[in-house]
């Protein structure tokens, strides 16, 4: 429990008011001298007890009312504190199999640590339901802070792609033990480029980096798993529309496309024409090299020259299509990796990207994990997590007030 204005707690001395009134107005002790008591009847003690009880209840209600009002004024807020001796052992998927940690896990379990997965909502290890979410260590730590546990031990691989957003500080009650993962070798894609040979793109990822390499192998030497991935070469037709002023640019563009065609397992069909003699040739891509704007009704994917757009990249995406932002010459084509960029937009490999992400084993080094900001920030975070009790108190005050009025009304009847 926390208070915003501690001084308001002095209002609790207001409790003296109803108590004093109660003590002063105990009329039972008062004696009225009267001519004769013949017409009076002794009120039974039971009735008196009822009355007294009634008055005590009223007194209690009134005291409660004052207390709640004072708490309201002093800005009571409370934290969701369950039992303080929660001890968790949270591990990332796969850690169970690590031999290095086996003794650690066992001893912690014996010391009363609950074993949980490092995932959203921290399911118990016993829970068989496996839900794989995209993990984010930052948000997981935020939810661990809310647990208000005494001690939390986290076993984690520190995958770099799971650190997103602002770096947070590690609270005192959390111990973060990291282990660099086993290097992973995987096949990104296999592309058939002749009748009996394939181009296999293999990845190799470890804690430091992920590398990719292409390898041409015979189709028979492939594993069964890789055979499943076999894809045919993509065939892409490209129309380069240019005017006379952009002749040099056109040549560079064609050279770049040819380089792509030779390097990557794909077939590019390149045609070029003058923009004035543009016929209705069907093409997957149109590369528009002219000061004139590209016609609006262009249905196909297009890369158009647009000098007005300036950016770091030589090719950027706008809402109308891809834009070439600079005039091309040898120098900036090499500097800006024109070939690579062309390849990436012409041959997007989402599946391959996903596979690569899945097997990404790169980690963040220990020193870069946590922000070393002063611990006060952590404290303010805790306060921000507290719940405001004001609506709850308002409801309580209303209820108590109502009850008090009803009982008082009954008593006066």
């Amino acid at each position: 429990m926390q208070f915003l204005n501690l001084t308001w707690l002095w209002g609790l001395t207001g409790l003296l008011i109803p108590i004093a009134i109660h003590l002063l107005s105990r009329k039972e002790g008062k004696v009225i001298r009267i001519g004769s008591i013949r017409h009076f009847e002794e009120t039974s003690t039971r009735q008196f007890r009822n009355i007294r009880l009634n008055e005590l209840v009223l007194l209690a209600l009134r005291c409660l009312l004052i207390t709640f009002v004072v708490l309201l004024l002093s800005g009571l807020s409370y934290t969701n504190s369950k039992s303080e001796d929660i001890k968790w052992m949270v591990m990332e998927r796969g850690m169970k199999k690590e031999k290095d940690f086996k003794t650690l896990i066992d001893s912690l379990e014996q010391n009363g640590f609950e074993l949980r997965w490092l995932e959203k909502d921290f399911p118990l290890l016993k829970d068989s339901s496996i839900i794989t979410h995209k993990l984010n260590y930052g948000s997981l730590i935020e939810s661990l802070k809310k647990v208000q546990a005494k001690q939390i031990v986290v076993l984690s691989y520190n995958y770099a792609n799971r650190f997103k957003g602002k770096r947070t500080t590690l609270p005192n009650n959390i111990q973060w033990i990291s282990k660099s993962p086993q290097p992973e070798k995987f096949t990104v894609s296999t592309t058939l480029f002749s009748s009996d040979s394939v181009l296999v793109r293999k990845g190799n990822s470890n804690g430091d980096r992920t590398m990719f390499a292409n390898e041409a192998v015979g189709i028979n030497s492939l594993t069964a798993q890789d055979k499943m991935l076999i894809q045919n070469q993509d065939t892409i037709s490209i129309l380069i529309a240019s005017d006379s002023e952009f002749g040099y640019d056109k040549n560079i563009m064609i050279a770049a496309l040819k380089a792509v065609d030779e390097t990557l397992p794909c077939v590019l069909k390149i045609k070029s024409s003058d923009i004035s003699k543009l016929n209705d040739d069907q093409a997957d891509w149109i590369i528009w090299l002219s000061e004139n704007a590209i016609p609006e009704n262009m249905q196909t994917k297009n890369l158009a020259f647009n000098k007005k757009k300036f950016g770091n990249k030589i090719i950027t995406l706008s809402d109308k299509g891809w834009l070439l932002t600079q005039r091309l010459d040898q120098e900036n084509a090499i500097e800006n990796n024109l070939t690579l960029q062309l390849a990436s937009i012409l041959l997007p490999k989402e599946q391959a990207q996903q596979t690569a992400n899945k097997f990404d084993r790169r980690t963040l080094p220990e020193k870069e994990l946590w922000s070393s900001a002063p611990s006060q920030i952590a404290n303010t975070f805790v306060i921000a997590e507290t719940n405001n009790a004001i609506p709850f108190l308002f409801a309580l005050i209303l209820v108590v007030l109502l009850a008090e009025r009803i009982i008082a009304f009954k008593r006066n009847q």
Partner: protein
């Protein structure tokens, strides 16, 4: 009760003879202002008028000198003079010291008696005072003297409420009836074994009139106390714990029955009974007194 009079109803004023006289005079003069003399005429000392003789008139009242002068028969008429004896009797038991606000029943009664005595003196009645409790019986015998009123007030001021009603000796002298008399008895009717009723019934004879003024407090009638109290009996000092809220209705009904019963009992004995609450104006009491007195004159 007007506010001017209310200011005067303080113990320090009521406990002095002159103060009590002043209060009595204010009450009576205020009450009598604008009233006319009695129209009743008959035989008496003070000449009023002549009227023609009519057959059947008493020949003794014929004015023979007038006949000698005018050879007509005249009957001589005078304003009727009455001298009634008014006996004020006061129950001076301790229950009369019950007080509401600043005034006790006894003080209220004293003011009433003083005012009635003043009125009686004005009408040249004789009046006396009898106060009774079991400690002493105080009597001022009725006399027709100028000092009588002061003597009367002096005795009235000295009256203290103490003890209880007298059942023993000495009470016999109060039943010494003779002539036309009006007995006015002030009490709160809190009796033991109907001793008060017995006493009242012995006061009444065919020749006299008895008025009983029953003095009650407003709160006493309605039990308008808030909360729970111990009530102590002034005469036997017994206490009883009462939650007034619970008992109010029962109590009120009981008091009503009691008053009704007493009234019926008085009515059977031809005794005038008046319930007076301490908030009533004094004029009402005076009017009741005059009404009964008139009935006595006929």
């Amino acid at each position: 009760m007007n506010t001017q009079l209310k200011d005067l109803l303080k113990p320090e004023i009521l406990n002095s003879v002159t103060g009590l006289e002043l209060v009595a005079r204010i009450i009576v003069e205020g009450f009598m202002s604008g009233s006319n003399k009695s129209q009743a005429v008959g035989a008496g000392q003070e000449f009023s008028q002549y009227r023609s003789y009519e057959p059947g008139d008493d020949l003794r009242q014929l004015d023979w000198k007038m006949y000698a002068r005018s050879e007509r028969y005249y009957i001589k008429q005078a304003a009727i003079e009455t001298n009634i004896t008014v006996k004020f009797m006061l129950d001076a038991s301790n229950s009369m010291s019950y007080a509401e606000g600043a005034m006790s029943k006894l003080q209220y009664t004293k003011v009433m008696i003083a005012a009635l005595a003043y009125l009686a003196r004005k009408q040249s009645d004789t009046f006396g005072l009898f106060t009774v409790n079991n400690k002493n019986i105080n009597t001022i015998q009725p006399r027709f003297e100028t000092q009588q009123f002061i003597r009367f007030l002096n005795a009235l001021v000295m009256v203290k409420s103490e003890g209880r009603w007298n059942n023993g000796g000495g009470i016999e002298q109060l039943f010494d009836h003779h002539g036309k008399e009006l007995i006015i008895f002030f009490t709160d009717m809190y009796d033991d074994d109907s001793d008060l009723l017995h006493f009242i019934s012995r006061l009444k004879t065919p020749r006299n009139e008895v008025i009983v003024f029953h003095i009650m407090g407003q709160q006493e009638l309605e039990m308008s106390y808030d909360g729970s109290f111990s009530f102590e009996d002034l005469e036997n000092n017994r206490q009883v714990k009462v939650d007034t809220a619970l008992q109010k209705d029962v109590y009120k009904a009981r008091i009503n029955d009691w008053v009704k019963e007493t009234r019926m009992w008085m009515l059977e004995k031809a005794i005038t009974y008046q319930l007076v609450t301490m908030s009533d104006p004094f004029e009402k009491t005076l009017r009741d007194f005059l009404k009964v007195r008139n009935s006595l004159m006929r």
